[in-house]
């Protein structure tokens, strides 16, 4: 009976843009044609595309297996190494991503490679290099994604108005054939408002994103978050529950635990984080840390993990997490030192500003 029900559900027509895209990927995967090499390559791309969409770690594993498999089968291909570089970057494996890019010398002038190198620089806290890289990529190709990259950097270095202006410019480049891209930029514009505490405005952008591309967990989790910030707790909780059912994402379990004050939920979150860490520890680390910081009592390995995270990605985000770990462990002086280190760079975010005040207040009360 259950098997029959599952079969019927799988035959049901997709009800959202997200589901439609997943179904299209499935159809395209089933209809792959060409010689064996071409088929293997297309298959790897499609599996990767699915993983990119679901962000499910098991899907990522399938994508990695497919990419490695096709490279083993047809030998080194710059196209595939660029794909692999993006894959490794997405999974926070920055060193591997750099190694992959070394295998694409003929793509050195490509705007996409310039942008990825700049992404790496940003993750490693080399902000000027990142800025130059994005500007180079834009000179080569003024595409929406390169505009959005520079916008993001601006948003992290204190120029929120400049960031929004670039996001608007990026949106103007996106056509009706790229609604998911448009939705994503809308989401970023919403985040600028969210970070500034303008929650109603953030929700407007999130809802517009959802109209552009419906059923996307990435948008829905932002809506759930802002609903909570707006005091619409029940709606937020209901949406988080729905998201957890769909994605089994430990971040959302943690968010639900925080909203409901249910410390017992964290055990479930930890189990799911451990599953993720078993596959891609670098990718899971930051998210797990954030979850740990939201709990009442500090985890014994909090500091070690926060330090490891900084070693992996020595940027403002990771250092701020380390500072928060220090404060959580009641070491405000160390937190202040970490903040000072961030402030010595161009990194300026509302989150940093808010936390700096918190640290100052704790230090002065000592």
């Amino acid at each position: 009976m259950i098997v029959l029900l599952c079969a019927l559900l799988s035959l049901a027509p997709p009800t959202s843009d997200y589901e439609t895209e997943l179904a299209q990927i499935q159809q395209q995967t089933a209809a792959i044609t060409g010689d064996p090499i071409e088929k293997a390559t297309k298959h790897a791309f499609l599996v990767y595309r699915r993983a990119s969409l679901t962000a499910d770690y098991a899907d990522f594993k399938a994508a990695e297996t497919a990419i490695d498999g096709v490279i083993a089968e047809i030998g080194p291909s710059e196209d595939l190494y660029l794909l692999k570089a993006n894959f490794d970057f997405k999974l926070h494996r920055l060193a591997r991503a750099k190694e992959d890019l070394e295998k694409t010398p003929d793509l050195a002038d490509d705007a996409g490679v310039a942008a990825l190198r700049a992404d790496l620089a940003l993750q490693e806290g080399r902000y000027d290099e990142a800025k130059n890289g994005y500007e180079t990529a834009l000179r080569k190709k003024r595409t929406w994604d390169n505009l959005a990259r520079l916008a993001y950097l601006k948003s992290k270095t204190g120029d929120v108005a400049g960031a929004d202006k670039l996001y608007v410019e990026a949106e103007d480049e996106i056509t009706a054939k790229e609604m998911r891209s448009y939705a994503w930029v809308e989401l970023q514009r919403g985040l600028l408002h969210f970070d500034a505490g303008r929650y109603a405005k953030a929700l407007e952008h999130y809802e517009r994103a959802s109209r552009a591309y419906s059923g996307y967990w990435l948008i829905e989790e932002h809506i759930a978050e802002v609903l909570h910030a707006l005091g619409r707790k029940d709606e937020s909780v209901a949406l988080y529950r729905k998201l957890i059912e769909r994605t089994h994402n430990p971040e959302y379990v943690s968010a639900l635990a925080a909203i409901l004050g249910r410390e017992d939920f964290y055990a479930e979150a930890d189990r799911l984080f451990q599953e993720q860490s078993a596959l891609y520890p670098e990718a899971a680390l930051g998210h797990h840390l954030k979850s740990m910081l939201a709990r009442k009592s500090p985890s014994p390995d909090l500091l070690a993990l926060a330090e490891k995270n900084v070693r992996l990605r020595p940027n403002g985000d990771a250092k701020l997490l380390l500072a928060r770990a220090y404060l959580k462990l009641n070491e405000p002086a160390k937190a202040r030192a970490e903040i000072a280190e961030i402030l010595a760079t161009p990194w300026r975010t509302p989150e940093l500003s808010k936390f700096s005040k918190q640290v100052r207040s704790r230090v002065s009360s000592l």
Partner: protein, 546 residues
Amino acid sequence: MIELRMRQSLPLCLAVLGVLLIPRLALAADHNDPNAVNSIFADVNVSAADLYDMFGWPSDDKAGGEKVILALTFASIPRAGVLDPDMLYRIRLDPDPRPTPPSKEDESLEAIVKYADALGDKYLKLRSSEVRVTVDKDGKAHVTFLGFPKGGDFSKVIATNAVETIETPDGQSIKAYIGGRDDAFFNDLPGFFRSINYAPQLYHVPHGMAADRELKIPKTLLELEGNKLFNFDPNNPKLGQGKKDDLPADLAWSGDKFYKDANGNYRFVYSGKDAQAGRNINAIILEVPLSYITDNPKKNRIVNTWGESWVLKAANKIETEPDDRGGSRWSWFHRKSEPEKELAKYKLIDTDGVPFEDAALSERADSSQLGANNLKLARQFVIRFGHLGWGFGPSVSALGLGTCFDHDNSPVSKVVFYKTAIAAFPRVKKCFFQRLNMPDDSWNKSGLNIPLKRTFEIFLPNVCAIDMDTSGTWPYGRRPEDQVATRFLSTFLDMKSGCGGKPCNIESLGDQAFWDRTPIEPKTPPNPLKNDKPFLDHFPYLADPW
């Protein structure tokens, strides 16, 4: 408040968006320009924005007055007969008097640049009339006529895939067909791509690998000895004709002569086969009275026309209320008209006027999709023509024909890149300024003193310039039966005495007798002489879809 979760950093999310190379999952269409919609690349899908051809010629039926036939063709996405509701197509029209030939011709680079600058001024300020077409989700075509001299702007909703008659406000009739047809382009496209070493036709070349599009070996009409990259391989006969291999590691050619077989025959890079046979397109086809296009049909004998494809911007697909992005501080100064407001919701993707202009001369650059206002490219065309000439010129000479390109009697094609038009110009001067002979007088139906066209006049501006006193055959317009690919190659012939000491003409390379007596295999004109399906002798002229 409680911080609920870790923010995903932007680059990671961008990757999630799949701003990555995605394999091509549909068959490549022809033309493929600009590069943004060039489905020949491994990572770009076929798009309804990819314009294929702009045809335009005077109707042979003069009953009820002179009429102009216009046909804009484009990729049949989602399928032939079904048009994409996110698209907006424009056929733009600019009637003009035929230019008076100068009393003394100035054959200098400055003359070309001055010519281009003068036209540039005109097209910058131009407010052309246009026919704008969108198709809704129910398959109804919304056709809007804007800027025509009589009766004001108006719109009509008509059925697709049917011949419809639209009555204009001043009581004239326009025939319209919007829907699927057979692809009217008949051409050995793989042959053309082999002639310019265009690797994406034969190999998996991602869009990002710009340097590996036209490989840096000589362009040529004849196979080069030892050219493993582009020579026909009997063990891999389908390469470049639907089959693609991975790009080889060695992309160089180090030979010094054209290939000859055991019988002393050259091998043609062209096959003469129709690569578009059996394929469909979507099209907008119109028959418009000249007296609707211009209020002075006796004076304005040239109807300049070109097509544009625009894709709806994402924001306008979902927008229900104004965004808070605000307008320019000067926005009050220029209040947009309703047609301008509509157009602002779309993004220009492709333009089409002269065949092969974007593919051969503009290298499909997205930034060169300028439509009629391509005059700023004049110097670039000289540079590009110089580069092509070093490839095609020696090939033409090897065939025993005379070439207008000065290649210093090079026995084989060469790779030469120019950085300046000044350096390239002496080589291309004759080609640019020679007048292109027609095969006979049938093109000049009026018998008027219409000067033969010079090459640079054809490519600047990028419009299909329909001469109402001619048959409208290329380059006096473009009729469906014109073999424009072969005619384009003829621009490298010496029109004065290149064909056995006699003048060449734009059809010389389509002459089977020439190939029969030439030591070459296969013995065929470069491109097919006829379309795969006969054209109709009545509106909508293009054959029914397959």
